[in-house]
């Protein structure tokens, strides 16, 4: 083993070997979603950018990609917001602080935040799409003076499924954050807006050339949001989106995440709209 690695000198690193990290905090967000705080050995920073993801390993169960939900400005640990949908996420739902999980990453390009400096940042998050967008939101909040307006549009199926209620309340109160929320179908207790996420967009006052939009949500959402933004006159080059595809390696080898000629785990998951507008499999 030793010998072979030497043979390649500084060559290939271990692509598939996770590092063991520990869950230090577990916060139930809704019936289905849980927020995990994860610490690498020695409290080392993950060193990620907003929009990047990690591969989480539970030995004997499998491995799956999850977006990093915390901002790199919050040091010492990172957060993953995970929805129960199957094998791995079910087992993870039973995990308490102290449990170890394997981590590979950070992977993917992430958001080049330097391009957003001085700009108005418009976040459009549908459902669990808020999990990755939260990394960018908190980044902007932690370096508030480097950016213009922060406009958050959040859509959820129901008010019972709204994620991060404490943070939503804080954004609502924060005079420097413009927070808009809508639900497809509200419970009786819901007094806010109902309707799909695109209904939030026509009413926004936007300084178009100076606004960048970041979109993340379920696959069906993108096309409609892009149409609505184009309808508002926002140039395509100001629009970024984070896409999800099946992933089996995260390092550009397994082929599962391919959209036409691009690999989401390498060139994405964050794309500038003009780069993928022509890709027929993208939206």
């Amino acid at each position: 083993m030793e010998q072979q690695i030497q043979q390649f000198g500084a060559g290939p690193r271990e692509l598939y070997l996770p590092e063991m990290a520990v869950i230090t905090e577990v916060r139930r967000l809704t019936e289905l979603e849980t927020l995990y705080t994860v610490e690498l050995p020695g409290g080392r920073d993950l060193g990620h950018k907003p929009g990047q993801f990690v591969e989480v390993s539970l030995y004997g169960i499998g491995e799956a990609p999850f977006s990093i939900s915390s901002s790199p400005t919050r040091r010492g640990s990172f957060e993953l917001g995970i929805r129960r949908v199957g094998m791995l996420t079910d087992v993870l739902a039973g995990y308490a602080p102290g449990r170890k999980i394997g981590i590979r990453g950070p992977f993917g390009n992430g958001i080049d935040v330097s391009k957003f400096t001085g700009k108005d940042v418009l976040i459009i998050a549908g459902g669990i799409g808020l999990v990755p967008m939260r990394s960018l939101i908190n980044y902007v909040l932690d370096r508030r003076d480097e950016f213009g307006r922060l406009i958050i549009c959040y859509g959820s199926r129901s008010d019972s499924e709204l994620l991060f209620p404490d943070e939503l309340a804080a954004w609502e109160k924060d005079p420097r954050t413009e927070y808009h929320v809508t639900v497809d179908r509200g419970t009786e207790a819901w007094t806010g807006r109902t309707g799909v996420i695109t209904t939030l967009l026509p009413g926004l006052a936007l300084d178009l050339p100076n606004t960048v939009a970041c979109i993340c949500g379920p696959p069906v959402m993108y096309r409609f949001v892009v149409m609505a933004l184009r309808g508002r006159g926002l140039p395509d080059q100001n629009v970024y989106m984070s896409l999800e595809r099946r992933m089996k390696c995260g390092v550009g080898k397994c082929g599962h995440c391919q959209i036409n000629n691009t690999y989401v785990c390498q060139d994405g998951p964050v794309y500038n709209l003009p780069d993928i507008a022509k890709l027929r499999e993208a939206l």
Binding site: M1, Q4, I5, Q7, F8, G11, P12, R13, E14, L15, Y16, L17, P18, M20, S57, Y59, G60, I61, G62, E63, R83, V85, G86, T89, K100, G102, P218, P219, E244, R245, R246, K248, C249, V251, G252, K253, C254, G255, H256, Q258, I259, N260, N261, Q266, R280, E281
Partner: protein
């Protein structure tokens, strides 16, 4: 370059010579009509004159199943199993299969170089052999001559009752050292003709594909296609894989294993929530063909299909990649001539 001659009657002796100091993989008969690369053991069982093997030498560098991690569930710890350097001699490789290895080399070294592949690939030496194209081969159309020696340490060209031997590398000389070969100075026999052709070179295919995204051929092919993924499994340049977990009966240890996967299979793009990003067989067929002639090719300038004909030869639905591509060429040229 000096040439030598190896009589057919001495081929087994030559294999025995190689086996004396090397691990050798070579084509063998499999069943009554098929051939497969296997570890040579009995020199007499090695077959050098064959149309194509079921799968290529890819399986030695990217095994159909491979353990990526061993894990201990009691300790919650994992380790990477050692990958022995291949250091083997691959005897009897056709030029298109070697061209496919070069393509895999590209895929496993660009971006994130992969230790597993590179370790298995390490120390490989190749002894190529010429072949006579059958009704499925079309390597000539993708620029790979049956006599192409690129990447070979020795090359054997079929001639009458034996093989003309070229030794283009020092490794080849080492392999041949100690085995008596007579010098041979007659020219090589003319190449046999291909009967299958792709009508235009790669330089034009990117454009053809560009114009063919919505061509009816995808749906028409999909009507016959079973979505079985055999065409992916037999292709020497397909390298996509799936990853699965195996746990032993006692539930104390296990392995994370990867295995060959195929973009023609429905589940290949499935994500949580039941979304399939290439649900229609037509979209998968287009993806397969574009992976061979457009996506990687636009970057490298090379077709990622090496013209081995395996996918066509092994398709139950008799779907021919050559026919698909030629139809796209014909129709895009017709469209162009209407436009101009």
């Amino acid at each position: 370059m000096a040439q030598y001659f190896l009589e057919q009657a001495r081929v087994a002796d030559f294999v025995a010579h190689l086996l004396a100091s090397n691990t050798v993989y070579a084509p063998h008969r499999k069943g009554s009509r098929s051939y497969a690369f296997a570890k040579a053991d009995d020199p007499a069982a090695v077959v050098l004159d064959y149309p194509r093997t079921l799968s290529s030498v890819k399986k030695f560098f990217l095994p159909p199943r491979e353990v990526l991690l061993n894990f201990d569930l009691t300790l919650d710890a994992a380790s990477v199993p050692p990958v022995e350097p291949g250091n083997a001699v691959f005897l009897g490789v056709h030029s298109y299969d070697l061209a496919a290895v070069r393509r895999l080399d590209f895929n496993f070294t660009t971006g994130n170089p992969e230790r597993n592949y590179l370790a298995r690939r390490d120390g490989a030496r190749f002894i190529g052999v010429s072949y006579v194209p059958d009704k499925f081969h079309f390597a000539g159309s993708v620029g790979i001559d049956p006599y192409d020696m690129t990447g070979c340490d020795m090359f054997l060209t079929k001639h009458a009752d034996g093989w003309i031997v070229d030794i283009p590398t020092g490794e080849g000389s080492e392999l041949a050292a100690g085995f008596k070969l007579e010098a041979h100075d007659e020219p090589k026999p003319p190449r046999a003709h291909f009967t299958q052709h792709v009508f235009v070179p790669q330089a034009r295919l990117g454009k053809v594909m560009e114009a063919s995204y919505d061509h009816p051929v995808w749906n028409e092919t999909a009507d016959a296609c079973l979505g079985c993924g055999t065409c992916n499994l037999v292709c020497p340049t397909c390298y996509c894989f799936n990853v699965q977990e195996n746990v032993d009966i006692a539930c104390t240890s296990g392995q994370r294993e990867r295995s060959w996967d195929g973009c023609m299979l429905r589940g290949f793009t499935e994500v949580a929530g039941g979304e399939f990003f290439r649900e229609k067989v037509a979209a998968r067929q287009r993806h397969r063909v574009y992976r061979k002639f457009k996506y990687i090719s636009d970057v490298t300038g090379q077709p990622w299909c090496v013209g081995c004909g395996r996918c066509t030869a092994s398709c139950t639905a008799k779907i021919s990649i050559v026919e698909i591509v030629n139809r796209l060429i014909r129709d895009s040229e017709r469209d162009e001539s209407i436009l101009t």
